[in-house]
Structure formats: structure tokens, C-alpha cells
Symmetry: C2
Subunit: 334 residues, 2 copies
């Protein structure tokens, strides 16, 4: 497959695990240095004073073949000595304190990334500069771009009284996702700060040979990127070159809460539901063979629909999916 590696300028809109797996395959079929990844940073959080960018790190670690494949996040051969040692402090913190949160695991090796990011932030470096440095540290050739250098926070409104709070309470994405293991119902999602944030990567979007919306959560991974000023407008303008990959297969999210979240927010948890979310900005949708029966309905929305194997159980499937995805844009008769 290497022999036929293309060097098309490709931009990928990315969340975490699903996007990262796609990108690993893409690197096998398209020159990595021709790829720009615009990564969701609505999940970013600060813990123990450390700046954490979960999706950036998942993309970087995966592309560097350093990810823990089983967990899907963090580094392989990881240890948890710092987190283990935190337990004694949880026991002494005052009632009203959230110090030493022990629900967000940070591996010992992984900490170095947060240390570096935090130190560079304190020095005044921007998120995209820091991401470039981190990518270089891991010998990546892709351009890894946080969606914005400004602070945007994904917030989740609770649909009902639950362990996380009362109906209507707003919690951070990481509380929703990690602390409550995305097990609470959601009424709405908001991206705090998005209106005044400056998007990264608009030029790359306008100059891309293909724009790929990775198989990430449409609401909380791709949603924050699309909510940035000018991004949806830029995607619409380039719609013919935009291809999305459905993260929903057989009505279920491959990973994470996308299926429930789609339902809770009034969408359909299906490849058709995904098509409806993306039809204005993407000309093409890649769906899994399991969903072949939805092809006609999706095409009726005015999208091309390509059916293939999207379950990226290994890099050869990822590479084949990446090839099919690119071909759907550049390989079709014009």
C-alpha cells in the first residue's frame, strides 16, 4: 500500500479515539506531512493546575504508536504511582473541596505531556504552537492543530436529577464523560467561549484536496469545531470536498456515548441521523456495511453515500477505510 501513497492536502476534523484510529490508517495511504488535523479542544480541562488536552493527546499518542490500545487513551506501559499516592489526600480534603480529583486518571509517563503544555502556557505560548512542539517531540509529520488557541469549554446540561446534580445543572464535559462515565442523561450541550474564539485551520480547509470529518462524536467532538465562527461556512463552501464517516454503526456508537446523546438531543442514533447532522456541510457520507440498508435514505438527503467496513479493529482496516474515504472525494468521476 505504501507504494501508492498519495500526497493530497487533507484536513481531518478530529475528536479522540475514532479519529485517531482513522488517522493512523490515513498515514499509511497519504503522506503524513500533507495531512492537517484540526482537533477538538472543548474537552480541555485543568486538573491539579495542569492543562490537559485529551483529544490532542489521544491523536498524538495514537499516531506515535504509543497509545494504550486497550484503554484507547493514555500511554502504553503506563504506571499510576502519582494517582495512587493521591488517595491519602482525598481523605483529608475539606467537605467543600474538589482538590485532588481521583476520578480523572493521569498516568505517570503521560504527566510529562501535561507538564510541558502547562509550562509553555505559563510562558505565553499558544495552543497551536504547543501542539506543534508536542507533535514534534513524538516525531509526527502531520500538522496537529487545536481547533482554536482560545479557551472553549464544552458544557453539558443534565436532563434529570441524578448523581451528577439536579435537572438543569450544568457540568463540565470531563465530569460528564469521565467522572459520571457518561451515564447521566443530557438535555443540552453548549460550548462556552466559542462565539469569540478564533478558529485555526481555515486556510487549510480552503486549500484541502479533501476534508474528512472523522468518525467522532458529532455533538461533543465535531460539534465544538463546527460551532467556531466561520467553520461551518467554510465547510459549506467546500462541501463537494467534504466527506464524513459515520461513528454510528447499527444504531450504536462504536465507543462512547454518541448514541444515547444523539437520542437525548432529538437526533436519530443511526447513520441516517448522522447524515442529517452533516448533510449541509458534507457531500459524502461513509457508512458501515451493517448500515447498507440506509443508503437510499441518506442519498435522498442529497449526499453521496459509500458503504464499506468502518470497524477499525486494526490498522489495515483503518488504511482501507482511509483509502475509500479519500477516493470518495478525489477518485470519483468529476
Amino acid at each position: 500500500m505504501n507504494a501508492k501513497k498519495s500526497s493530497l492536502p487533507i484536513v481531518v476534523l478530529a475528536g479522540g479515539v475514532g479519529a485517531a484510529r482513522f488517522l493512523r490508517g490515513l498515514a499509511l495511504v497519504n503522506e503524513p506531512r500533507a495531512t492537517t488535523v484540526i482537533v477538538n479542544t472543548g474537552d480541555d480541562t485543568t486538573l491539579h493546575g495542569l492543562n490537559i488536552s485529551p483529544d490532542i493527546d489521544t491523536v498524538v499518542y495514537t499516531l506515535a504508536h504509543a497509545i494504550d490500545a486497550q484503554r484507547g487513551w493514555g500511554l502504553s506501559d503506563e504506571s499510576w504511582r502519582a494517582m495512587d499516592s493521591l488517595k491519602k489526600y482525598v481523605e483529608v480534603r475539606p467537605e467543600n473541596s474538589d482538590a485532588a480529583p481521583d476520578w480523572f486518571n493521569l498516568g505517570d509517563k503521560d504527566l510529562a505531556t501535561h507538564f510541558y503544555r502547562t509550562a509553555r502556557r505559563i510562558e505565553g505560548a499558544g495552543a497551536s504552537q504547543i501542539a506543534a512542539e508536542i507533535a514534534r517531540a513524538w516525531d509526527l509529520e502531520q500538522q496537529i492543530l487545536p481547533m482554536t488557541d482560545d479557551a472553549v469549554s464544552t458544557l453539558v446540561e443534565l436532563a434529570e436529577d441524578c448523581i451528577a446534580g439536579k435537572a438543569g445543572d450544568v457540568i463540565s464535559f470531563q465530569e460528564y464523560f469521565v467522572k459520571y462515565k457518561h451515564g447521566v442523561a443530557v438535555r443540552s450541550v453548549a460550548f462556552d467561549g466559542v462565539d469569540s474564539a478564533k478558529p485555526n485551520g481555515l486556510a487549510q480547509l480552503n486549500n484541502a484536496g479533501a476534508i474528512v470529518i472523522a468518525p467522532s462524536n458529532p455533538i461533543v467532538s465535531i460539534g465544538p469545531i463546527r460551532a467556531l465562527p466561520l467553520v461551518d461556512e467554510t465547510l459549506r463552501k467546500n462541501r463537494e470536498r467534504v466527506v464524513a464517516i459515520s461513528p454510528i454503526v447499527g444504531g450504536r456508537a462504536i465507543k462512547g456515548p454518541a448514541d444515547r446523546m444523539l437520542n437525548e438531543l432529538g437526533h436519530e442514533s443511526s447513520a441516517l441521523g448522522v447524515a442529517k447532522i452533516y448533510s449541509k456541510v458534507a457531500s459524502t457520507l461513509i457508512i458501515d456495511s451493517a448500515d447498507a440498508g440506509l443508503k437510499d435514505e441518506i442519498q435522498a438527503l442529497g449526499m453521496r453515500c459509500v458503504v464499506t467496513d468502518t470497524m477499525m479493529i486494526d490498522t489495515s482496516v483503518s488504511a482501507a477505510l482511509a483509502k475509500t474515504t479519500i477516493d470518495a472525494i478525489v477518485g470519483r468521476p468529476s
Copy 2:
């Protein structure tokens, strides 16, 4: 020795290693809950966004029997995975960046303490509140008090052009102590912020049965505490109950740069030099048997002088030294 444990209210002015070893002995001869430790925080620093209080941690870890005795700092059975992983980032940081400093080792287990301190600071807790919580986490009964809740930074002025900068340049204490391994000559020492800082422990000093100046560096460990408003005045007022232990034995510091620093700053690197620094605030000086010949000269300064074994090679020596030190104040004929 336990049978005879006193419960005298004792206040100890403390730096790091030497003070911690003394305190471990003191806990064997005086009820720990009767002891207040006022700890130097001029060495405090921020690394990777984490608030670090080296002397507090050395005192706490030592009293909790968790210190790495060989190193004298940090925890026993420690690992260095986070620091090791930081190396790749040092290689990619820009020329003008000090991010990811790899010269200050933070052990994986030790990190939890910095995480907790930092998180509590962000929540608005004061340094003394946090130190009390950390002490409780380690099951200590002593009151561990940072010398102030305000920010005071020990700064070191270089005496000559050297690896750390030019003569007259000012560097932080940790740069001097750790980065340059206290191997550069010092022209002066300053405690930035000390004039407006509010001292902790004045009431305890006034109510103490004995006040001990631990065998710590008189300039950069005890110096910052004494430089706080009202502290020296309070010590002078209570001089009869103040006893200092010389950290200089046979003209040499037991640990660290105290000997060179005393010389460079115009003092004598000897127990007599220490006596001169403390004679206005302490009625009594404990010196090592090796320095017995200096006793008359020290007494000529108007101090009582007690000669004993001050080399705390194990806790039994520490305990004996603590006993001798207390007895020098409360055991003498009034």
C-alpha cells in the same frame, strides 16, 4: 526514653533535612502534638504549574518515616517515570523556553503532594491550612506551619560571572541550590516579599516552653523566617527560652552550602560564626563535641553553650540531641 516523654509546648524554626532529623528525635522525647514547626517557605517554587514547598515536604515526609534517607528529600521507594518522560519535550522546546525543567526531580509518588497543594491553592486555601491537611494525610500530630501564608521568595545574587549568569545577576533559590548544585559564589541573599508578609506562629512563639532554632542553614533556611516582620522581635523578647543548634561542625556544613555561603557573606564558617548570627535572639547554642574548643568564645558573646553529639546519624542520636536541647532551656537551674 518513651516513658519520660515530656509534653512541653515547643516551637521549632525549621529548614529541610537537618531540621527534619532533629524533629524526628524530638518526637521521641516530647509529645508530638505539643510541637509546632515553623517551616521556611522561601524555597517554594512553581514548576510545571505545580506549587512546590520543599522544606515542608522534607519535614512531613521525614516525620512520617517516608523520606528517602539516602537522598534526604523525596519519598522512599520512589520512581521517576514522569521526569524520564519529560526528556523528549526538553528537546523540542524553543531556545528561549525554560519549559519542562528537567533539573528539578519530582518523583512520581511525590507528585501527589504537589497536585494536592496546587489544587487547594487554586480553591483559595491558605498555605497553613494546606500544610495542616497534608500533615494530617501523613498522620502527623505536630502542627506544621509554613512561616507565612504569603509569597516570599529567596533570591540569590551571583558574586561573579559563572555558569548561572553574570556577577550581580539574581537567580531563584532553587536555581542556585538544585540547578547549579550550590556550586556558584553568592554575593547577597534577599527574601522577596518578606516585608509585607504576615508571619505565622507568633502566638506559639510567645507561649512556647522552649523555642528551638534547628540545625538548618542560618542564611537561607532560618534567615527567611527571621526576616519576617515581628519574628526577630518576638525571639528577642523570648530569648531566654530560645536555643539554637549549630549546623556547622568542625567548620563544615553537615549538608548543603551553609559553610561556603557563610564565608561568602562575611560570616565565619564555624560554630562561633553561627553563635554571632544567633546571639541576639538565642540565649543558648548547642555545638558539636568537635567544636568544644569554641565554647569559651561563644560564652563570651553572652550565650550559654552546650557541647554534645549533634551528628544525627540515627534517631537515637537525634532523640538524645533533642533531649539535651530541651534540657538546656527547661532543665537548668533558674
